[in-house]
Symmetry: C2
Subunit: 351 residues, 2 copies
DNA sequence: TTGTAAGCGTTATCAA
DNA sequence: TTGATAACGCTTACAA
């Protein structure tokens, strides 16, 4: 059924040269006489020839493939990470193969195997959990691996990460400066170390300032997260500020506040995580922590590239800094008091 | 430097069998005695063996690879499409390779070549423009290709598409039912046939009802789009309803209305395109057209699979229907009149 | 600068 | 059911 495509041999015959010459024309590894090169290209074009990666990889032992594994392709943060990485890969002559683990350890295991069969020259991994799949431990001497975003700091792998604790502290300081003394931190899953660090960074600083900080862990499922948070807000006195430490919890928080008819920036200040276009497409734009995706992607790529080029030295990668985009959703405490006061509502009424 | 990984030969030796047997154990194409199979698996595990796709592809002529090319990986619609397709592919034993053309015809050309070198068994393409890259025309007899979302209806390729005109009409009817008589349609790029069809569907129906419908084409760049729309809105009397025909124009529209301090659902009704979580995380959730991504992905995959299995028959794929998620951002005209009236503003004042 | 030929790891054919 | 062996298309010594 599937007849085989044009091979290098056919091109060589058509151009009246050897296969080696054809190979050299396309790889550029050895110089080829211009006339011959032209003749080869002509023949190739006429026949519709394209190098067969499989054969090329097999013979050379170099796949020029880098795999990228992320926990959730529907998360815009990971998509942008992938997009950035692809850019770098492209430029350096690598192809990337993306795998989505769907935040599931089983799937992750399966994907690792599938990816390894490509004989990648390198791997970029955002682990689903802090437990890095053991298959990766097995192959870590054969293929360079760079971990990012999730996974615990380890001496086993190169890791590029953001300073999550610092990000949490930054948000806390911002809210404290605005006079907030009751801040709710909304976490998805504290098992994820990045989430844990952000929360802790924020809470510590707030408490150190003698203010009050609570934590709700709403789980990883969006719908349930909003409901969970709503229950908490009804049971407890309304905080004056909320810090949502992930993309998803930001959405859950806003959904929840909308349902409770609490007005963002007035009744309560909100700081979200990750910075997306929709956050600005609102009457009250959302203050948010922006992760430096471009820098992260670049750090990941250059690190991996060094490893792929055989650099075995101890490379220390410093944690990257996040940035706070201050917008109208976070306001000085006076605004909140004024709002709640004007409505003749005590804090307890806005549940 | 890069020592070659374990080969089938080494496993065969370790297990005391032939390479053919090892191959059969892993491919399952021929039955193997249980004892032998166990021995092989043991040896393989011990050695850390994994089949080499390159060699396997080369010999069998079957890559079990399907490529997916999309214009913009940062567009959540395409991400979800890719995610859905991957699911199907996975189930049927195919690996997908994703390429992002970044809405650029040059990049697209480059990517097509790169993808073809994988010798894919099938290709799924969302063309950047209506002009399907000519390289695809050249290979369309060698490898099955399914086009979706963009690209003009053609007899050359199998196409899975949504009924864009119908979607436009649906929105128009919704707004007409609510009594709106001045509807603005916000398009990104009318060169994209889907966008064109949506606009036209909507505008035709509105005009057929004797109501007024204007069109602004704001271009493909988000920032400029909002500014462009803002200029239009200032120069013209405020419509009572706006239909944004893409994800990006929806965002641009909302950004713009927020800047103009026009309240969505009150001063003006808004219908957006594509349905995302952020649309609900607002005080006024957005009415939106939801494309049936799952159905589209499934249709694409089953069609491609049939072609990959050698089905040459004429297959007609019916256009799929979109759905309207009605929410608070679209309101009966009375609400708008009331709002504008109460504020003591004529339509002209809310510019 | 070009050609010859071996061999990468796998699968398919054929024989046992 | 298993094994021996050729061949897939390419790259790369090495020879010319």
């Amino acid at each position: 059924m599937a007849k085989r495509p044009i091979s290098i041999k056919q091109v060589a015959d058509a151009a009246g040269v050897s296969t080696a010459t054809v190979s050299n024309v396309f790889s550029g590894k050895k110089p080829v006489n211009d006339d011959l090169a032209a003749r080869v290209r002509d023949a190739a074009k006429k026949l519709g020839y394209r190098v067969n990666r499989a054969a090329s990889n097999l013979r050379s032992g170099q796949s020029r493939v880098v795999t990228v594994m992320v926990p959730d392709l529907s998360d815009p943060y990971f998509t942008s990470l992938v997009t950035e990485i692809e850019e770098h890969a492209q430029r350096d002559g690598y192809q990337i193969i993306v795998a989505n683990t769907k935040d599931d350890v089983e799937t992750e295991r399966g994907r690792v195997s599938a990816l390894l069969s490509w004989q990648p020259d390198g791997m970029i991994v955002v682990p689903t959990s802090d437990n890095i799949p053991e298959q990766l431990l097995q192959v870590k001497d054969e293929v360079p691996i760079v971990i990012t975003d999730r996974g615990i700091q380890t001496k086993e792998f190169d890791v590029v990460r953001v300073d999550n604790a610092a990000a949490g502290k930054m948000v806390a300081s911002h809210l404290l400066e605005f006079g907030h003394r009751r801040v709710l931190v909304v976490a998805s899953d504290m098992q994820i170390s990045g989430v844990y660090d952000r929360c802790n960074g924020a809470i510590e600083r707030i408490r150190a300032a003698g203010a009050q900080s609570d934590l709700v862990e709403v789980g990883p499922v969006p719908d349930r997260a909003a409901a969970h948070l709503a229950r908490w807000l009804v049971k407890n006195p309304m905080p004056t500020a909320i810090f949502a430490v992930t993309d998803m919890t930001t959405l859950a928080t806003l959904t929840c506040l909308a349902e409770l008819k609490a007005e963002v920036g007035y009744d309560v200040s909100v700081v979200g995580y990750d910075d997306y276009p929709w956050m600005v497409a609102r009457r009250t734009p959302i203050t948010a922590v922006r992760q430096p995706v471009e820098q992260i992607a670049e750090a990941v790529w250059t690190l991996l590239l060094r490893r792929m080029n055989g650099d075995d030295s101890q490379i220390e990668v410093l944690p990257l800094e996040c940035e706070l985009r201050v917008r109208a959703s976070s306001q000085p405490i006076e605004k909140t008091e004024e709002t709640r006061g004007r409505r003749g509502r005590a804090a307890s009424e806005v549940k």
